[in-house]
């Protein structure tokens, strides 16, 4: 079982590298290790047994270490602190299945950004090297301990700035155009129902459509939301088509 796990993780690493489209060439030692691992896996599956000889286990482990080191030195430049000896995720701030908050405080202040970064690295690592879930070493970290303003400051401020800027520009321009066309100043426009409705629609559009592909995405979302309903209604549509026909 252990060897299947190891070879499985090797396989997953290779395939997930393909999935994430990372532009790296696999080192020669690694692909050799992969082929042999696949053979072992196939053999084991055919034998319908997960018990393997110790010899196979140790041979695979050596290959895995070689391959692992070769891969890691190339891939995880940002994770120098988190290099590993086995497939597990290791970080000195990750203790007992959660981040040790004390290690993230600088001069008495909590450095929430650090936790966000560290958790992102951990999840990235696990996406590339999925780990077994252990009962004696459970993960108890919950991202909800990070306060909401930390998320806002880090991820959403730049985007909020962009959207506010767009809204201001569009608003100023439209106020000018409507004034030129109708003679209503800004004060008059805020009293007019049509202007207020137009304003509302514009704000929603700016929030929802941020990149050009958002238009297509929203349409796909609308299709998706109603697709299931259409599949269920199909039986009734057929009935309407066949009124009066005898079978």
């Amino acid at each position: 079982m252990a060897s299947i796990a190891i070879s499985a993780s090797l396989q997953t690493v290779c395939s997930s590298h393909q999935v994430t489209k990372q532009p790296q060439s696999k080192p020669g030692a690694r692909s050799l290790g992969m082929k042999e691992a696949t053979c072992v896996v196939a053999l084991n599956v055919e034998a319908n047994s997960l018990n393997v000889s110790a010899q196979e286990k140790s041979a695979l482990r050596i290959q895995k270490h070689k391959a692992e080191d070769a891969a890691d030195s190339k891939s995880k430049d940002g994770l120098r602190g988190a290099e590993l000896s086995a497939v597990k995720f290791r970080d000195e701030r990750w203790k007992n299945g959660t981040w040790d908050l004390n290690m993230f405080s600088k001069n008495g202040k909590m450095y929430w950004d650090g936790i966000i970064l560290a958790e992102a690295k951990r999840r990235k690592f696990l996406e590339l090297h999925p780990e077994a879930s252990m009962n004696d070493d459970p993960v108890v970290f919950r991202s909800s301990i990070i306060p909401w303003w930390a998320w806002m400051m880090r991820s959403y401020l730049p985007e909020a700035e962009l959207i506010n800027g767009r809204a201001a520009m569009v608003g100023f321009f439209m106020a000018y155009v409507v004034d030129a066309l109708t003679g209503l100043g800004v004060v008059g426009q805020t009293g007019n129902f049509i202007c207020k409705a137009g304003f509302f629609v514009t704000v929603i559009a700016i929030i929802l459509i941020r990149r050009t592909q958002d238009v297509g995405n929203l349409r796909k979302l609308a299709d998706e939301a109603t697709f299931y309903d259409k599949q269920w209604q199909a039986s009734w549509q057929h009935q309407n088509d066949q009124t009066g026909k005898k079978i």
């Binding site: 079982m1 252990a2 299947i4 796990a5 499985a8 396989q11 997953t12 395939s15 997930s16 999935v19 990372q22 896996v41 599956v45 319908n48 047994s49 997960l50 018990n51 891939s75 995880k76 430049d77 940002g78 994770l79 966000i116 958790e119 992102a120 690295k121 951990r122 999840r123 990235k124 696990l126 996406e127 999925p130 780990e131 077994a132 879930s133 252990m134 009962n135 459970p138 993960v139 108890v140 970290f141 919950r142 991202s143 909800s144 990070i146 998320w151 880090r154 991820s155 959403y156 939301a225 299931y228 599949q231 269920w232 199909a234 039986s235 057929h238 009935q239 009124t243 005898k246 079978i247």
Partner: protein, 466 residues
């Protein structure tokens, strides 16, 4: 749903060809249900009486849907033939039944091998959440062996007067005009394993297609195709000390490594565990997903031996046509499997029963010929009763199985007690409970918060190693 054995007045006026049996009266024999769809022909009131015999109905397929349908038909006074290809079929199936099924179908408690009272959901980053703290002591998810359950339902149908035939349905000749019978062609094996079987034909008035995901009945009525998921499962016998952990606990693993649009599971069976996964969009990679699932459960199933490898298709949505003439589809043949959880046994049995009830009522306990309108009442009732359940599960799947961040949010949400209570209530009793609006609001806010956090983390992840 207690079944009270009553001899109806109609039953007392039976003809000589009928066997004496108890007829169940779910409702009094009253005027036909009026259909408010103007397109439908008013039901069987104008249909001629079937003279000299009772209505004959064939049920193709002897799984939960077929067994339940045959039992209800037989109890209702209809002459029933149940055609099943393999009587001892060990179906590849999760085998989980909700609590309400035990009560509604009067299942004996010894059919249930195990009672699952705890579930563990494990996110892509191995955050593990225990679900089941809100279950009351008498509530559980029953794990059954399909061969035991199917056999029990078939036996009950047979005891109530249905004729169980061991045979393989080949094709069906549709009748030329309105009242002519359907001619079924099938090969009868009669219990001889490996034999070629005898080709036979049978004339029946109506057919219920309960023959599963690759239904031949569906093909013969041009019911159309559906998208389906492939579920792949390995039955693994693990050492006893590891089995203790799975005593009444089932696990669900979510993640891109395990499945891009479904989940991987470890379900305890009678004396082994079933480890499996499924997918709709990446069927070719199913073996890879299975390896990943085994890897995630690595320590807990270490040292296990694979007993059996099995795979089966799971319909994703109903077929375009579930009904044509006097032929109706039920169960997996119709595509009644929920999204998100992939549950099908209960809905198969329930749809079989509903369809049979519609036939019994439309034919006034087998005295009149049925027509398509009677069978449509079953579709109406089914859609009305279970549409909310299916829709809610579809929305959940679309929102939470999309991507790894969504799955992380999903697992985080499951830690909430209110969510657990709502989930189990709706799963165990099959009703969409409205719930407390204040808690619903809190839940909505928390859900959005979780999704936002998970997506923010994903953006950070993308910045690394770009």
């Amino acid at each position: 749903m207690a079944s009270i054995a009553l001899k109806s007045f109609i039953g007392l006026r039976q003809t000589a060809t009928e066997k004496t049996h108890f007829t169940m009266q779910a409702k009094p024999v009253s005027p036909k249900p009026s259909n408010h769809r103007t397109l439908q022909v008013k039901a069987a009131k104008t249909s001629p009486k079937v003279t000299g015999r009772n209505l004959r109905v064939a049920v193709i397929g002897g799984g939960p849907a077929g067994g339940a349908a045959a039992e209800t038909l037989a109890k209702g006074g209809v002459e029933t033939f149940l055609i099943e290809r393999k009587m001892d079929n060990c179906k590849p199936c999760g085998g989980a039944i909700p609590l309400c099924m035990v009560g509604e179908f009067d299942l004996p408690l010894d059919i249930i091998d195990r009672r699952v009272t705890k579930m563990k959901m494990i996110s892509p980053s191995n955050v593990a959440v225990d679900i089941g703290q809100t279950l009351k002591p008498h509530e559980y998810i029953g794990m059954v062996r399909r061969e035991v359950l199917d056999q029990y339902l078939r036996n009950r149908a047979s005891e109530n007067g249905a004729t169980v035939i061991n045979g393989l349905f080949l094709k069906m000749d549709k009748p030329g005009d309105g009242e002519a019978p359907y001619v079924l062609h099938y090969t009868e094996y009669d219990g001889k394993a490996g034999g070629a079987g005898v080709k036979k034909t049978m004339e029946v008035d109506a057919v219920i297609g309960a023959d599963g995901a690759n239904s031949r009945v569906a093909k013969s009525i041009d019911a159309g195709d559906y998208e389906y998921a492939i579920a792949f499962q390995e039955r693994i016998k693990i050492p006893d000390d590891k089995m203790v952990y799975y005593e009444n606990l089932a696990e669900m693993y979510v993640g891109d490594d395990v499945s891009p649009d479904f989940y991987g599971w470890v379900f305890p069976k009678c004396d082994h565990v079933a480890v499996g996964t499924g997918t709709v969009t990446h069927k070719g990679d199913i073996k890879k997903f299975q390896l990943a699932t085994r890897n995630r459960a690595n320590d807990k199933i270490l040292g296990g031996k694979i007993l059996r490898v099995e795979a089966h298709p799971i319909p994703e949505h109903p077929r375009p046509r579930r009904l044509a003439g006097r032929v109706a589809l039920v169960g997996d043949a119709a595509g009644y499997v929920t999204k998100c959880s992939g549950e099908g046994i209960y809905f198969a049995a329930k749809s079989g029963r509903m369809c049979a009830e519609a036939i019994v009522e439309g034919s006034e306990n087998g005295k009149r010929m049925v027509n398509e309108a009677d069978l449509r009442t079953y579709l109406e009732k089914w859609d009305k009763t279970y549409w909310p359940t299916y829709k809610v599960l579809d929305v959940l799947q679309k929102v939470f199985y999309r991507s790894n961040p969504a799955r992380e949010a999903f697992v985080e949400m499951c830690a909430d007690e209110y969510v657990q209570k709502m989930t189990f209530d709706s799963y165990l009793y099959k009703r969409v409970v409205p719930g407390n609006p204040w808690e619903d609001l809190k839940l909505a806010v928390n859900t959005i918060g979780s999704l936002v956090r998970a997506n923010a983390l994903r953006r950070e992840m993308e910045k690394i190693n770009v």
